[in-house]
């Protein structure tokens, strides 16, 4: 299959056609959405199988002129990082759609599923676009469906939350758009300008130091808001609390990754001098995010908000791993992105399942659920342990590698790894505090009478949870295949980012 990547973009759009044709038929809409996202998942696994492990560069590249008069290309490709993030995306989308067929969404199901399919196009596209303009288009394409998913099917303060989400994201991404156009103009003389990443990287050194300083800032703002990094994180708790369960899964599981991925794919290799210049601040903000996210999580009364703030902390590990600029850190960051996708996706799923049954999200209103829901408790427990970084589960390996990388971090000036490493490690301890304490208050203790008769996990919910559980364990005990795929590509990116000929200019 020569055009596998294009196929991945097209399949959800093709699914939209029968979906619109049978718009009012709830059963048909469910079946069409599930089948489409399943086909997409299978295709992404085919892509993973075809990937040549050990090669650092882009594979399965497709490149066609799109807007020739502006030098813009339709250019797709995957490397060791995106080849794993894409199946994660398709899996989480499939699970979200599957879970939503179970009755959590009570109205306007046709619109809901259509939004998810469009969202999937944007998410998959973001991870394989190699032209900056195309990347931006996909980056923004994720925005409108998520805006509708939160705004229409969300909780009581959905309008506030969704507008905040959109305005924060847009503010960052529009400045990035200015940056992208600046890159275009600086890429060459009129007539041979380009936004294609491979072409830009083929001849490094075309951007001056000052240029890189400002354009890196524009890109970093967009990605930092999307991640989100402290202090741009305030949209996240609101968005998560109001979003429907499936929306939260995809938002935490995939959308946040677009920020970390953007740093690795574009900001680091294109602007090595800019990276060096902003690196101290970004490392500081990462560690602040780890500690602040964890401390704030401890005091949360709302279960969903707790998971949301824990995301801020986990994303802090991702940015920390990226900006220590060494192999362990980079690989750890990518693993942490995968782990966060599966585990936090699962946590949001289970918080959602619990809310559907009890209609309570305040931790104080819950308790003793372990007695009535043994199956639920087993699953939820594993994901909580994975989230706090227990060895043998997926959370450990990513955070461990990031910490190793951080300890190795040794800058010419300013505090080094021996300062940041222990600081970040405290975050790991705090994660154990808030997660275990939450688990104890929700699952143990005296159970309320009203909850006694509530049913345990339904078969559908088990089907949704099992793949995530399997991957969490697999990535925990046997991470080597993933590392083998990721490593060469991370190495290649770091080679650009630490290109001595460029960094010396500073």
């Amino acid at each position: 299959m020569d055009h596998l990547l294009t196929l991945l973009i097209v399949v959800p759009l093709v699914g939209l056609i029968p979906l619109i044709a049978f718009f009012r038929d709830v059963r048909a809409v469910k079946q069409i959405a599930v089948v489409t996202t399943f086909v997409e998942l299978v295709l992404s696994l085919v892509m993973l199988a075809q990937f040549h492990v050990g090669e650092a560069g882009f594979q399965m590249v497709e490149s066609v002129a799109w807007i020739p008069s502006f030098g813009i290309r339709y250019e797709l490709g995957v490397d060791g990082i995106s080849v794993l993030l894409i199946p994660m995306t398709t899996l989480l989308t499939f699970i979200s759609v599957l879970y939503s067929t179970g009755g959590a969404i009570k109205e306007r199901l046709g619109e809901y599923m259509a939004a998810f399919l469009v969202l999937e196009v944007g998410m998959v596209g973001v991870f394989m676009a190699l032209d900056l303009f195309l990347f931006y288009v996909f980056f923004e394409l994720m925005l409108v469906p998520m805006y509708l998913i939160i705004g229409i099917w969300g909780g009581p303060r959905k309008v506030y939350a969704t507008l905040k989400f959109v305005l924060f994201t847009l503010a960052g991404s529009l400045l990035m758009l200015v940056g992208i156009i600046a890159v275009y103009l600086a890429s060459g003389d009129a007539g041979n300008r380009t936004l294609s990443l491979p072409e830009l990287l083929a001849h490094p050194g075309r951007f001056s130091g000052t240029f890189q300083f400002w354009v890196f800032l524009a890109f970093a703002l967009a990605f930092a808001i999307k991640m989100p990094m402290v202090p741009f994180h305030t949209w996240l708790p609101d968005a998560h609390v109001e979003a429907p369960t499936a929306g939260s899964i995809v938002l935490a599981g995939v959308l946040l990754k677009a920020g970390g991925y953007g740093f690795l794919r574009f900001a680091l290799p294109l602007f090595p001098i800019g990276t060096q210049a902003w690196l101290p601040i970004l490392i500081l903000l990462s560690v602040v995010a780890i500690l602040y996210g964890a401390i704030v999580s401890v005091v949360q009364k709302d279960l969903k908000k707790l998971v949301a703030y824990s995301s801020v902390a986990h994303m802090g590990f991702v940015t920390l791993g990226i900006f220590v600029l060494n192999q362990q850190g980079g690989v750890g960051a990518v693993l942490q992105m995968l782990n966060h996708g599966f585990v936090t996706g699962a946590l949001f799923l289970f918080v959602g399942i619990q809310y559907e049954k009890t209609h309570r999200r305040q931790i104080a209103d819950l308790g003793g659920l372990a007695n009535t829901w043994p199956l639920y408790t087993a699953f939820f427990g594993v994901f909580v342990l994975a989230s706090l970084g227990l060895p043998g589960l997926s959370g450990f390996i990513g955070e461990f590698l990031v910490l190793v990388g951080t300890f190795k971090f040794n800058p010419a000036t300013g505090p080094g790894g021996l300062f940041w490493g222990p600081a970040a490690a405290i975050g790991v301890i705090l994660a154990a505090v808030y997660l275990l304490w939450m688990f104890q208050r929700v699952m143990y203790g005296t159970v309320r009478e009203a909850y006694r008769s509530l049913p345990d996990l339904s078969p559908l919910e088990v089907v949704c949870a099992v793949p995530l559980l399997v991957l969490t364990v697999l990535l925990g005990v046997f991470p080597q295949p993933a590392i083998a795929i990721i490593s060469p590509s991370v190495q290649r990116i770091l080679a650009f980012a630490t290109d001595a000929s460029q960094v010396v200019v500073r």
Binding site: V144, L174, L177, I181, A182
Partner: protein
């Protein structure tokens, strides 16, 4: 005047003839037949005008050097005819409901279109002025077409008074230019201003008067005060047309005069234009933020779009890409803004007043197709991909950065966030709120739905495959590149 002169302006002749035929037909057929035939004749006439365009000689001056047919003309001819078609298609149900005489409406649109097309033909100050008047006077009439509605009266009167005032200002500026150069042709004026430069007081006065006059026509802050009332009070289909065609024509005039005739002063006026652009987009957006009435909000937002387009003019030093960006944006804006106003036609209120945000509550449940089209236009106006509005912003930002106006590019980006707030709030009310019990009636209009559907599809397609239009805009900008 020779036969070849007439051939050169064949599209304009066809549109004028259509308007005349329309008035005759309107007088001679019954009400029922008129309902089908009048819009049909209008649309067919406009299509004939578009088709006749390529048969006129390229780069041909006619009428003794008063008009020129070049790629720029060709671009605007098509744009104005397309906008007129769109404005015709969305109107019938509304006109019927408000008992506005349909024949008069279509004929007025056609006459105004001829005026707008004339501006695009101009190579002489006189032609520009004749075109401007021929375009705006029918628009004053359009604004006042709901004769028994006080707001419509107010809109027409206000538009007329300020329009006449600005025309006088512009004409006075033209007189100064004539005094300087002894000619009204663009090339003559360009030679004269190049000779005198801005150090000459007379040049400064002329430049200031012309800039202010054109700024009034394009609704540039602080010369925009007529806009909200005129747009808000006019019958909604008329507003939809008024908000795009005269604005596009004003920018055709700005490009023809500023780059065609006053390019020697470019360094001076482009700095002023950059500041005006920033003030205009920010002013329009900030005031639009607090409007509860959607029609009025769109009026203010159209002022903001003037600012974006003006930024492209200010970046003229970037060369062809700047003018092409302006042309592309004007085209994109024409479709999406006309569409957005026209979506309000569905809400059947008394008088010409537009719907408030609350009256749009749950609109998506009541008319799924209309709401979807409205959402597409609004998302495009915001500048979110994959819509033509997004690509248009990119084509403006490119030359703005290229000419070194980095601050202006940042202002544009931040303004787009402001705009997102109020545009998306409309989507919020349509999709995320329940229908009120006392919600206004909806107009059942098949032709309107079809027109809006086509417009929405064009808006998305223009965002996915923009190359053809952009290439065409580049060609159209070519006459300005020396």
């Amino acid at each position: 005047m020779t036969w070849s002169d007439v051939v050169a302006v064949m599209p304009e002749v066809i549109v004028t003839a259509t308007a005349a035929i329309l008035l005759l037909v309107d007088a001679s057929i019954g009400r029922r037949a008129a309902r089908t035939w009048l819009p049909l004749i209008t649309v067919l006439g406009l299509i004939a005008a578009i088709i006749s365009g390529p048969f006129t000689v390229a780069s041909h001056t006619a009428f003794g050097g008063f008009v020129v047919v070049d790629t720029f003309t060709a671009f605007f001819r098509v744009l104005f005819c397309v906008l007129a078609i769109f404005a015709t298609v969305v109107a019938p149900a509304y006109l019927e409901r408000r008992s506005i005489p349909a024949g008069d409406y279509y004929a007025t649109i056609l006459f105004s279109t001829v005026g707008a097309m004339t501006i695009a033909l101009a190579t002489d100050l006189i032609t520009v002025f004749v075109g401007l008047e021929l375009m705006t006077i029918p628009v004053y009439v359009l604004a006042g077409m709901a004769r028994r509605d006080r707001y419509s009266n107010e809109a027409a009167l206000k538009y007329f008074l300020l329009g006449a005032f600005s025309s006088a200002m512009l004409l006075y500026g033209f007189a100064w230019l004539y005094g300087l150069s002894g000619t009204t042709s663009f090339t003559g004026v360009a030679a004269a201003v190049a000779r005198y430069g801005l150090t000459d007081g007379a040049t400064l006065v002329a430049l200031a008067l012309v800039t202010v006059g054109l700024a009034f026509k394009a609704a540039v802050v602080p010369f925009h005060q007529w806009t909200p009332d005129a747009y808000d009070g006019a019958p909604t289909p008329a507003t939809a047309f008024m908000s795009v065609a005269p604005k596009a024509a004003a920018f055709a005039a700005i490009l023809r005069i500023m780059i065609g005739a006053l390019a020697p002063l470019g360094l001076d006026w482009s700095a002023v234009f950059a500041v005006l652009a920033a003030v205009t987009m920010t002013g329009g957006n900030v005031v639009a933020l607090v409007q509860p009435n959607v029609k009025r909000m769109l009026a203010y937002s159209s002022i903001a779009h003037t600012g974006y387009i003006l930024a492209g003019v200010a970046a003229y030093q970037a060369g062809a890409s700047a003018s092409a960006g302006v042309l592309f944006y004007v085209f994109a804006y024409g479709i999406m803004n006309l569409g957005a106003f026209a979506c309000l036609i569905f809400i059947d209120l008394d008088g010409t007043r537009g719907a408030t945000l609350d009256e749009l509550n749950g609109f998506a449940r009541r008319n799924a197709g209309g709401a979807l089209a409205f959402a597409v236009f609004l998302i495009s106006l915001t500048g979110i991909p994959p819509t033509v509005g997004f690509v248009a912003k990119v084509f403006i930002l490119g030359p703005v950065l290229d000419s070194g106006l980095v601050w202006l590019a940042v202002v544009i980006a931040l303004n787009a966030v402001l705009a997102a707030f109020y545009y998306l709030r409309v989507v919020v009310h349509m999709y995320m709120y329940e229908v009120d019990t006392n919600a206004p009636r909806l107009l059942n209009a098949r032709l309107l739905s079809a027109g809006l559907g086509l417009g929405a599809v064009a808006t998305v397609l223009g965002g996915i495959v923009p190359d053809t239009l952009y290439r065409w805009a580049l060609q159209a900008a070519a006459p300005f590149i020396r």
